[in-house]
Amino acid sequence: MGYASLVVTVAIIAGIYSLLAIGMNMHWGDTGLLNFAHAAFFAIGAYTSAILTTTGGEGLLASRVVGFEFPVVVGLVGGSVLAALAGVVIAVTSVRLEGDYLAMVTLSSAEMIRLGIKNEAWLTSGAQGIKNIPRPMADAFPLQLGSVTVGYDLFYLGFLLVIVAASYLAFTRLSESPFGRVLHAIREDEDVPRALGKHTDVFKLKSFGLGAGVAGLAGALWAHFFFAINPSMFLPGLTFTIWAAVIIGGAGNYLGAIAGTLFVVLTRQVTRFIPGDIPMSSELPFIRLIVIGIALIAILYYRPAGLLGDEERLVAGQMEAE
């Protein structure tokens, strides 16, 4: 029983990270934009949804004056929308920058957003974090279906899988639509769509907004499952983990992004299933990150297109500097 519930929790983490990877794949895989602010979009989604659905109040370290107690669905929508807006705002200042400059600006912007979340305690409870975030439909569980009892975690996993599947279908459709083809053209050579009269900046803003929006949705879903959030959950390391997932899985391929996420999440979580008394057990958290780092480098060397990446398309490993 213990293992079964762990498996469900790990699957929920994998599902939420898959949404992050889908958003990142829209940015990097489809459009070739180097977004290093993903953790911030995730944080904006989580915080927005938490603030919209909880009540403010006195805390041990900080007093939050803002809180709305709206239904969870308002939080999910609000979190996605605000994250998308944040994506567009960051992109407006920086989308014309060349590749690695964009990486620096987005990385710095993400840290500033985290700094804001940490310091504006009236809005976010600061370092103390927000607790008691409501779970949707929590009262209905555990649910007795004949002789089978369905626990809340299992229900949430099902709910999450529906959202991941819907996002996957929506984003693959989008990627194959005329809109997606313009994004791919921008990725290959921005001058070409521009010569055809496309406003490439507008397309890049839309790409940034859509990817950030789904990252915001992931954040909201995270907050509503894990009850509590705090600023240290949204460090740049999270952004890098999602990058590793997308590159390992194969940039430009949404199924690849999800496969890469599964690899990364399993590598990070597998140690939960290992008994604590084996040698080096206290170093395991660090060893698994080393494994991800080595896997990332090895994939880029041996299989630049990633596990499921399409060799025909532009891939991280084949794009030469201009």
Binding site: L107, M112, I247, I297, A316, E320
Partner: protein, 288 residues
């Protein structure tokens, strides 16, 4: 500027020295290798932790630890180039950036395994700061500023007066042209890693002296350092140093106008404004 305490200027000079030192090493590497090395933060942390081991675990004076810590990072940077970056030499800057993220994962967690993930301090006395002309000045801070100036000056002479330095500047300007003139750019790459690594190690020790040592210390210091590199014009050492001091002093002086929690914002604002208005850097001599 009314109400600007000279104390903030001194703090600005101290943090400017740290940023300038870090930015100098990074811009040298960036200029020749042509990619953003995220693992540079871990190079800095490594120098600090080696110094920590010698200073605290072996009881040696800090300056011995600092020298060894700084010097160790040069060969380590060369070894990592041989092991990792060399195999990606003809790939795009973005691939190298992602590779350096992978390397930074590996290095940071090796540091955590060897030294633990808690925060540590060098074995230096904690004392009240004496006051000169109304400004509190710690001995550690004087050490940081003086040593940084020595390294900055030494590197300037190296780049101006020695054959290797002149070749480095040429290659940073235009690698192909330098190769055409008979400069062995592959050998030059080794010198760049060596010099850049030693500077990173020094910067790491100084960072540890200014605050605490943590496995993430290098990474968290990177953002203002990147801002200084880009502000100065990538590959331009003088620009990076000027940019570093500008960001350091403006950050500390900004507490007069904005809450001090938000002073890192100055680096970002300078970065964005700089990129949008002067994409070639302060002095307009960028390599690309």
């Amino acid at each position: 500027m009314a109400g600007l305490d000279p104390q903030f200027i001194w703090f600005g000079i101290v943090s400017g020295s740290l940023i300038a030192l870090g930015a100098l090493g990074l811009t040298l590497i960036f200029g020749i290798l042509d990619f953003i090395n995220i693992a540079y933060g871990e190079y800095m942390a490594l120098g600090a932790f080696v110094a920590f081991s010698l200073n605290v675990e072996f009881g040696l004076p800090l300056f011995v630890g600092a020298i060894v810590g700084a010097l160790v990072v040069g060969p380590v940077a060369i070894a990592l180039d041989k092991a990792v970056f060399q195999h990606f030499r003809n790939r795009s800057a973005i691939v190298l950036l992602v590779v350096s993220i992978g390397l930074s994962f590996v290095l940071r967690n090796v540091i955590r395994i060897v030294w633990g993930s808690g925060s540590k301090r060098f074995d230096v006395p904690i004392e009240e700061a004496p006051t000169y002309f109304g400004v509190r000045i710690l001995a550690d801070q004087v050490g940081i500023v003086v040593l940084s100036l020595c390294v900055l000056g030494g590197t300037y002479l190296l780049l101006r007066r020695t054959d290797v330095g002149i070749a480095m500047r040429a290659a940073s300007d235009d690698t192909d042209l330098a190769r055409l003139r008979g400069i062995d750019t592959e050998r030059l790459v080794l010198y760049v890693w060596l010099i850049g690594g030693v500077i990173a190690g020094t910067a790491g020790v100084m960072l540890g002296l200014d605050a605490q040592l943590r496995p993430t210390m290098g990474f968290t210091a990177l953002i203002p350092i990147f801002a200084a590199v880009i502000l100065g014009g990538i590959g331009d050492p003088v620009g990076a140093v000027v940019g570093g001091y500008a960001i350091g002093i403006l950050q500390e002086a900004s507490v007069v106008v904005i809450p001090s929690e938000y002073k890192p914002l100055i680096g970002l604002i300078l970065l964005v404004v700089g990129l949008l208005t002067r994409p070639d850097g302060l002095f307009g001599e960028a390599t690309r």
